[in-house]
Every structure is written in structure tokens, then in C-alpha cells.
Symmetry: C2
Subunit: 142 residues, 2 copies
DNA sequence: TTGCAATTGAGATTTAGTTGCAAAAAGGAG
DNA sequence: CTCCTTTTTGCAACTAAATCTCAATTGCAA
């Protein structure tokens, strides 16, 4: 999984004339060692905890490259920072976000996706990505 | 329209033990004189241009009250600030956002809304609000 | 190995939004 | 109307996320 993601990242970088540096590798590895939503600060802290050195600026500069290369994307705008998630190795899905406990439930509904396509056709609009977030209260917080 | 919105706002404030001040009235009027998406800074500038005095802090403090009272809501997180829109006097809708020119197309699709309800039932989730934003390229920018 | 463009880290800067506080004012009680 | 309490205001100081600047470093292709 990581190796394939790394291959994609290397290709992307090369094709853009950019370099695969040790710092970018650290970020990539950390991002793909997680299996949930994450934000810049999470990755920063985890890399530092492992004794590796990296600056926040580098992570902030690396994330857009990971997005551009199709490996991760913005998932939800929670209170505070932007949260990211993997694309590579994960099917597209949308989110239910609990306003009380912050729990995030992922769901997939093909019929919604189809209707979205139909709407884009109706407005002669070429979709690149979409985000559907439903906020409310989960079973336990209601 | 404004008068009814003002009534709702006054009720909300009273019920919370808050006051209907001239500044809050200015914000309310300005917000409802617009008929498109807006952000805090827009309202600030428009009020100032008319020669009225108000501070940004007051507007930042008033917006959550307008949201809480059900008159406006966050529409989209564009590059930069949060954009708001009216709820009062407008039907619920979602957005297509052009990544090139920033144009926003509003759409309404009841079948998507129904499917969302079904999903919430499936996960025993009580929805409060949702936001569906499709980003891509409009007819002219493609 | 060399040269150059890309990258890095550190700290400064920007930007959106929040907060503390003293002075002002709303609005209910009397 | 006047008084009194509570809320509100403006300003400036502050915060936090993200971006930028720049000198020193490094990747990598020739
Ligand atoms: Mn997810
Ligand atoms: Mn809208
Ligand atoms: Zn919950
Ligand atoms: Zn466009």
C-alpha cells in the first residue's frame, strides 16, 4: 500500500520537476501509517515523537502535493482545522458529523452520486470533486 | 421581508435576554438588503460606505446570533472566508462552485434530500443541517 | 563531480477571528 | 420618566492557522 502510494508520489513529483526528499518521505509514511482522518498538526506531532526532525512549514508545503497527486484530500471542515483523509486505497464516501462528540460516520450512497452527476449535466458543469457533510447528533449524543 | 425577519430576530433576542441594538439592526438590514452570498467583510464595508459606524467585532458577534435565530447560515467555505446566505425567505439548496471563476450555481434536488434522510435513519443519526458542495468547472471556464 | 534549481527550517508575517475591558446604552421595574 | 442592572460596544491586544522570506542545504541530472 505505502509502496504503491510512494510510487505514485514519486511519479507525480518527477513529472513536475520536484524532488522526493527525506522530509516528503517522512510525511508520506506518517500519513499512510494512519487509518483515519488527520490534520497537519497530527502528522507534525507524530513525526516529532518518533525523533525525526521536520518543520511545520514543510508539512504545510507537502500536503498540497499529496492532494495534487491524488493521494489524499480534504475530508471535513470541523471546528478548527481542516481534516484530511486518504484517497488512495479507499473508496469515495461522505460523512455524518456529530455536533456533540465529534464522531464521524462514513457512508456511501451510489444513488446520491448518480443524482449529482445528473445535476452537473443539467447545468453543463464538469465536476472535479464534491463534499457532502451532514451535521447532527449521533445515536449516543441525541 | 425585512420586517418579518426583524420580528424573528427581535423575538430571538428577547427570548435570550439580549438587546435589539442599533448596531444589530444595521447588520440585519444590510444582510437582508443583499440577495446573494456574503461574508462578514462585505457587510462591514457596506455599512461603513453608507456612513454608519460599526466595528468588525460587533459584526462578528452579531452573525452567530443571526445564525442561531435561523435567519442566515454558512453557505460555502471558499478560498478564504466563510460565506453566508439567507435562510429566511429562501428554500434550501446546495451549490456548484466553479474552481476557476468562483461562480456559484444553486440547485435543489429533492431526491438527494430524501436519500440523505434515509441514510440518517440507517445510522440512527439525527440530522440538523447538511452541506453539499460540488466543485468543478462551469460551462464558460471548462 | 559539478552546478543549479528545488527544498529546508526558522522566524517573521498575514489573515480571520476572538477577547478583555472601560465606557455607553438598552430596557424593565418602579 | 428615572433608576439600575445587565448587556453591548469599540478599540486594541491577542490568538491560531497558514503562508512567506531568505540564507543555507541538498537532490539529481549531466
Ligand atoms: Mn472519511
Ligand atoms: Mn446559496
Ligand atoms: Zn455524538
Ligand atoms: Zn467558471
Amino acid at each position: 500500500m505505502l509502496t504503491i502510494a510512494e510510487g505514485k508520489f514519486r511519479n507525480y513529483l518527477k513529472q513536475k520537476g520536484l524532488k522526493f526528499t527525506p522530509e516528503r518521505q517522512l510525511v508520506l509514511e506518517e500519513v499512510f501509517s494512519l487509518h483515519k482522518h488527520f490534520e497537519v498538526e497530527d502528522i507534525f506531532i507524530r513525526i516529532r515523537k518518533k525523533g525525526n526532525h521536520i518543520s511545520r512549514a514543510t508539512i504545510y508545503r507537502t500536503f498540497p502535493l499529496l492532494v495534487e497527486s491524488g493521494l489524499i484530500k480534504e475530508a471535513v471542515h470541523c471546528q478548527g482545522g481542516v481534516r484530511f483523509e486518504h484517497i488512495y486505497g479507499h473508496e469515495h464516501h461522505d460523512h455524518l458529523v456529530c455536533l456533540k462528540c465529534g464522531k464521524i460516520i462514513e457512508f456511501k450512497e451510489d444513488r446520491i452520486e448518480e443524482l449529482q452527476d445528473a445535476i452537473c449535466k443539467r447545468y453543463d458543469f464538469t465536476p472535479v470533486e464534491h463534499k457532502l457533510g451532514i451535521r447532527g447528533y449521533c445515536k449516543r449524543c441525541r
